[in-house]
Amino acid sequence: MSQIKISDADFERFRDYFYRKTGIYFGDSKRYFVDKRLIERIKATGHRNFRSYFTFMRFQASGKEFQELVNLMTVNETYFFREEYQLKCMVESVLPEIVQRKKKELIRIWSIPCSTGEEPYSIAIYLLEYWPLIDEVDVEIVASDIDTKVLEKSKQGIYNSRSVQYLPREILRKYFKQLSGGRYLIDQDLREAIDFRQINICDFEDTKKMRDFDLIFCRNLLIYFDDVSRRKAAEAFYDSLNPGGIIFLGHSESMSRITSLFKVRKFPQAIVYQKPLTTWR
């Protein structure tokens, strides 16, 4: 049994600090979740109580321990049609607006980090299935990640049943071929349609090449970054988007906390961030 306890005051102190740094607020109902992870890190770092751990974490110049905590508090897994309300927002609200502005010109979408490919393929499937203009407007999807191994997996397009568990049955049938061992292979046309590239979002030379996008999906990446990297990423996205271009972040992320370069747009389905149409403030 653990002897380490998190008091109410400890919890409040941690909650305020974490909120200020990340924008993520833990309600009282999350108390057990937070305490458990805090105690885990207190033990792992060899501290005897919350106070000594908090001081260590709060004043550590590298911010490494804070990032460890962020990773623990925000564990995510990827799967097809994750946070589907944003995909809905794309086809029902965002794309109609962009098409109106660009007429029938090519639309370019960037998915980063694409990890093992669930996100860019979800975007592609969503467009094909739910966007009425897909036969009239050309769309390019560029998917990138810093990790070449996951890019390789994306290109192979083989997924387990957990990854596809939220896909409607008819979509699964239409775009996937069942393999042995409960695995699924995604349609070859889709694999060929998406351009997978290795990009480090914090590397200026890498991101210089990423231009003229209308939409960026960058969900649940910035939360894992330190403040400096987050600002660099926001700069890169700003330069990568066309004026009026839109960026989708994860539900617990907020661009407003990183930079004032983007405008907040509230659509019925989701909140997104937009590069202003003019660069004059």
Partner: protein, 210 residues
């Protein structure tokens, strides 16, 4: 299916990247004053690779009105880092532009080692607003001396708003050893109900750790 494979990466390079202009240090410094916003912004971003760009970037920041260029300049300064950046950014704490001032505070917060030698002087600044901005820098500054600096503020500062700001930060980093100083400040500002409330909050939080 109207999904198209992306264009060749070379073709998708922006105009700025297709230019033939040589991008040496002096060329980039000249471009910082270009009337074209995009050119200024790109020059500012590229100057992140030059340590000697601190002064010219700060000079540009003084007159730069475009938000996106301001951000590029500040991010490049943050990338360069070090004491030279801190020294050149501190005067911006007196800027009338609240947005710029707040961004400067954020950059300073991200440079803990370089900003540390300047904190005490800022906390003694004759202008109470500057002292509040110094306390703001301490808000998330990852530096071991933060509690000590805050304690110094509540012990010595006469301005109620500066002390209130410091108490607010102490709610997070205060320790039981600070209780006597906290009680003292409550007495010093006996006519300020907010100070009493803030002190009680800090004490409540620190006591439960004891």
């Amino acid at each position: 299916m109207a999904l198209k494979k992306a264009r060749d990466i070379q073709k998708s390079k922006p105009k700025e990247e297709r230019r033939s202009l040589k991008r040496n240090f002096q060329g980039l410094i000249n471009q910082l004053n270009d009337p074209d916003i995009q050119i200024r912004r790109w020059a500012a971003r590229e100057l992140a690779g030059f340590e000697q760009a601190v002064e010219p970037l700060c000079r540009r920041l003084q007159k730069e009105q475009v938000l996106s260029v301001q951000e590029s300049i500040l991010n490049s300064l943050l990338t360069i880092g070090g004491e030279e950046v801190v020294k050149n950014l501190i005067p911006f704490l007196r800027s009338d532009d609240a947005g710029l001032r707040n961004k400067v505070i954020e950059v300073l917060q991200a440079l803990p080692e370089a900003v540390a030698p300047y904190i005490e002087k800022l906390l003694r600044d004759p202008d109470s607003d500057v002292r509040i901005f110094a306390v703001d820098i301490l808000q998330v500054l990852p530096h071991a001396q933060v509690p000590e600096w805050l304690l110094q503020v509540i012990r010595t500062d006469d301005h109620v708003n500066v002390v209130a700001a410091a108490l607010d930060r102490l709610a997070e980093v205060g320790t039981p050893e600070m209780i006597p100083a906290l009680l003292e400040v409550k007495q010093r500002f006996a006519n300020e109900p907010y100070i009493a409330f803030a002190v009680d909050t800090v004490i409540e939080r620190t006591k439960s750790e004891a």
